[in-house]
Amino acid sequence: MTTVTPSLDDIEARLATLRATLMSFIGSDRIKGLLSLGPSISVLGIIYFLPILALFILSFGTESSFTGFEFTLEHYGDIFPLDPLLSFNFADLLYLGLLAKSLKVSLYVTIVSLVLSYPITYYIGNRVQEAYRLPLMMLIMVPFWTSYLVRTYSWIPILSENGLINGLLTTIGLQPLQLLYTPLATNIGLVYLHLPFMILPLYASMAGLDAAHIEAAQDLGATRLRVFREIVLPLTMPGAAAGVIFVFIKSTAAYVVPTLLGGPNGILYMNVVVSQFRQTYNWNFGAALSFILLAIVLAILYAAQKMGASLGSAQMR
């Protein structure tokens, strides 16, 4: 067997090609792109994905930290108990029942916010003179520079038994109503807190509407209602969609409002999650509850997006 000793020139030539390949690889757009994304990816990774990953791992762990980490599915088993599920005994599905209630409340709050935001943003974005638009938007936004706790508490004297509304009712000779510590109070509080998250993106869409499009529709015989249905609604869909996502997600995560305004029977899913972290110190179970909510919200948003896209293309046709 003969060994071929490569000559020095040969090695040098190979090294040169290797270096060239390496340099062109490093110099390629893909690597440059990745390198330039590096800082933002690291920041996002550290402050965003790492905690979520930690929670995810935690949700599969045992409760005791003394025995060290042991893999278990018991937390997810507690949320989806097999016996009541198989026997259709849905009343025993404590956590899923609360989750359904939370999603229902979020849906109400989102719909009411959307319905309220349309006239407000249409008026400010199209009807009001340009000079008054910013001041009016500021009026809507200024209360939200104070703490949401203060803003939530401020509803108590309005809704309470001897509060503002009941005071007015009794003055005109009507029976006082139980408003505070009811689901209605929770809904009112959530709508009030989350309305700006609907108004802002919707206002951006409204302000972007071309007044000539509305006039053209009127000129072609469209009444106010039809102008809204045919022109305003489809052209502001992107803003409405952004607002719906904001408000829905924020509502599913609400726990202060149901506690303060909803009363002892008004707790929602997120109250249980928070109590796992704050009172019972069962972080593993709390993490599992969080992940169920995350998964369901993502699934709903995905389905809504698919539905919106197919609706949009159907309208095009």
């Binding site: 071309d210 000129d219 072609l220 469209a222 009444t223 045919e230």
Partner: protein, 351 residues
């Protein structure tokens, strides 16, 4: 028969600004009327008052004798072609054109049939399924026209509809618009600031200035017999000489010149004499009623035409002539004789 559109003392104020200052006019059915004027003269506001997008501060708007002053835009028998076209970006070409019919409750099959007819009329066959942003500016313009015409309006209002097109396309569309108007026989009210466009297309032109109508007339009337100094100055090019009218001598004194005119103004009235550059002859014959000696200041050769700037004392004049009609083109600082017929000098009251 009542006028297709009539404005009676229509006034529109925006705060302190008077956009339309007591305008009255009548537009006959089937007429192509152009509202012409510089920007800010109130022509677009006048059009929007007719369309129903603005309510007059005072006065009456009538369509075929019927008072529509307070009627909303959607109930008027007029349609507007917008300067920006205002095509609905989320609808196809077909849906845009059929929009007016949809609003009137015409069923889908009938709508589609009429949309196809309209696409043929504006020469965009088989484009009904295109989206708006796939179209060129000229095509969008045609869609905007079709969207208005499909409703068979008795009056079509057009707000500088060709403003965004390049010159060549503009010329073609001018002819096409005129043809469509003649074919359909409906009243067109057309807003433009382009006098050439107005002269080319209109049956009648209304010259607007500062919210008021300066003159309404056929294109040649407006050009040949301007009613005011503004009209003479605004339409085409003219020599405007300010002076005083001497009724006894029948002349207007301006600087050192005493220009003979035919006029029935008061003696001593402050007037302007307007003489179009092409009406002034170089080296006029003896039969020409008014001639004068002047100095050539500048010569602008324009191919078929030659423009000669001359002066007499302090008075400057522009003379325009066909280059080939001249035996020799004079040189700068030559002394030449020019002249014009007295009938070509229009005397206008000075405000």
């Amino acid at each position: 028969m009542p006028a297709s559109v009539a404005l009676e003392d229509v006034r529109k104020e925006f705060g302190d600004v008077v956009a339309v200052d007591d305008i009255s006019m009548e537009i006959e059915e089937g007429q192509f009327l152009t509202l012409l004027g510089p920007s800010g003269c109130g022509k677009t506001t006048t059009l929007r008052l007719m369309a129903g997008f603005e309510t007059p501060t005072s006065g009456t708007v009538k369509f075929e004798g019927e008072d529509v002053t307070d009627a909303p835009a959607y109930s008027r028998p007029s349609n507007l072609v917008f300067q920006s076209y205002a095509l609905f970006p989320h609808k196809t070409v077909g849906e845009n054109i059929g929009f007016g019919l949809k609003m009137r409750g015409v069923d889908k099959a009938k709508r589609e049939e009429q949309v196809l007819e309209m696409l043929d009329l504006v020469e965009l066959p088989r484009m009904q399924d295109r989206s708006i942003d796939e179209l060129s500016g000229g095509q969008q313009q045609r869609v905007a026209l079709a969207r208005a015409l499909i409703n068979e309006p008795t009056v079509l209002l057009l707000d500088e509809p060709l403003g965004a097109l390049d010159l060549k396309l503009r010329r073609n569309m001018q002819l096409e618009l005129k043809n469509i108007q003649e074919e359909l026989g409906i009243t067109f009210i057309y807003v433009t600031h382009d006098q050439e466009e107005a002269l080319r297309m209109s049956d009648k032109i209304a010259i607007l200035n500062d919210g008021r109508v300066e003159q309404v007339g056929a294109p040649n009337e407006i050009y040949e017999e301007p009613a005011t100094r503004f009209v003479a100055d605004f339409i085409g090019e003219t020599n405007l000489l300010d002076g005083t009218y001497d009724a006894d001598a029948g002349v207007v004194s301006t600087g050192a010149l005493r220009i003979p005119v035919e006029s029935n103004h008061d003696d001593g009235a402050a007037v302007s004499v307007s003489i179009r550059p092409e009406k002034i002859r170089i080296h006029p014959g003896d039969e020409t009623s008014y001639t004068l000696e002047c100095t050539v200041d500048d010569i602008v050769y324009q191919g078929n035409l030659v423009k000669i700037h001359v002066s007499v004392d302090d008075t400057e004049l522009v003379v325009e002539d066909h280059a080939e009609g001249l035996d020799t083109i004079p040189d700068v600082s030559d002394h030449i004789r020019i002249g014009w017929e007295t009938t070509q000098a229009t005397v206008l009251q000075n405000q």
